[in-house]
C-alpha cells in the first residue's frame, strides 16, 4: 500500500519578508500539511476540479501502478488551465483558503501561513504549490483507493 505523505516543504523561488518574533525574516519555504476532514469543503472542490479537467469521451483510468512521483504538479495546473470545465481562478482561491486554514500551512516551518502572507507569495510559486498539493494529497488518496480495490478484487 502506498504510504500517505503527511506534509511537504516547498522552497519559494521569490522570497519576501515575514514577521517572526518581532523581527523581519526572509520567507524561504512553505510547509503544507495534509488536510483533514475539517477541510472537507475545500478538498472536495479541488478534487472535483481535477477530475473534471480530465479528458472525457475516452476510457480514462488512473494507472493503479503509478505513484505520485510520476505526476508533476505543474502539469496538473496546465491541465486545469486548459480545461473548459474548470475555472483556474476559483481553484486557486479555494487553495488559498485551504492553505491559510489552521494546521495546514506554515512559513519556514514555524510561522502560521496567514491570508496576508499568502497574498505575498508570487503567482508562479502559488500555482506550483497548488499543483504539488493536488499531487501529494488529493490524487494520492485516489490512487490508494484504486490499489485497495484492486487488492480486494484479486483476493475474491
Amino acid at each position: 500500500m502506498q504510504d500517505m505523505m503527511t506534509k511537504f516543504e516547498y522552497d519559494l523561488t521569490k522570497q519576501f519578508d515575514v514577521m517572526v518574533r518581532g523581527q523581519l525574516e526572509p520567507a524561504i519555504s512553505v510547509t503544507l500539511n495534509a488536510p483533514s476532514s475539517k477541510n472537507i469543503t475545500e478538498c472536495s472542490i479541488l478534487k472535483q476540479a481535477f477530475f473534471r479537467s480530465l479528458p472525457k469521451g475516452e476510457d480514462v483510468e488512473l494507472n493503479p501502478d503509478a505513484t505520485v512521483d510520476d505526476m508533476d504538479g505543474d502539469e496538473i495546473i496546465i491541465l486545469l488551465s486548459m480545461s473548459d470545465s474548470v475555472e483556474l481562478g476559483e481553484v486557486l482561491a479555494v487553495a488559498k483558503k485551504l492553505f491559510s486554514s489552521t494546521g495546514i500551512g506554515s512559513i519556514n516551518g514555524d510561522t502560521k501561513l496567514t491570508s496576508e502572507l499568502i497574498n505575498m507569495i508570487s503567482m508562479d510559486d502559488l500555482e506550483s504549490m497548488v499543483g504539488k498539493y493536488l499531487v501529494n494529497f488529493i490524487l494520492a488518496s485516489a490512487l490508494k483507493r484504486m490499489k485497495q480495490k484492486q487488492l480486494e478484487a484479486s483476493q475474491t
Binding site: V18, M19, R21, G22, Q23, T111
Partner: protein
Amino acid sequence: MIQLTDAAVIANNEVVAIIANSLKYTEGFGEQTMRAASIGGGKTEPIYANDVETSLSDLMFELPTTPENIALVRSWKANTNQNAFQIAGSTPEGEVTRTFTQAAVLNNYEVGIGSETSIPVEIKSNPAI
C-alpha cells in the same frame, strides 16, 4: 494633493480591523535639542544634540471591543517586545508603508464595554522602517 485617510494595520502577519481615523504613529527619530554656544563677540553657534533615548517609534490605534480583539491584545501583551506591526496606506499619488519591529504594548489599556467603546492601544517599537 490627496489626504491619506486610512491604512491597513498588520500585526504579526495578520490584518487587524481598527477604528477608522484612530491610527497614529511617530517615525522614531526621537527628540533633539539645540543650544547656542558662545563663540565670543556676541556671536553664537548652534549645538545640535540627538537624545537617542527617545529614538523609538510610537504606534497608536483603537480596536473595536470584540471577544476576538480582547484576546488579540492580550496576546500582544504576553508577547512582550516580540511583536511586529506594519501599516500600509496609499492614495492615487503614492503609498506609505512602515514596519515596527520589536514592538510592545506598553499602556495599561482599558477595555471599554458598550455600544461605541473601543480598546485604545499604545505601542512602542524600534524606529519605523
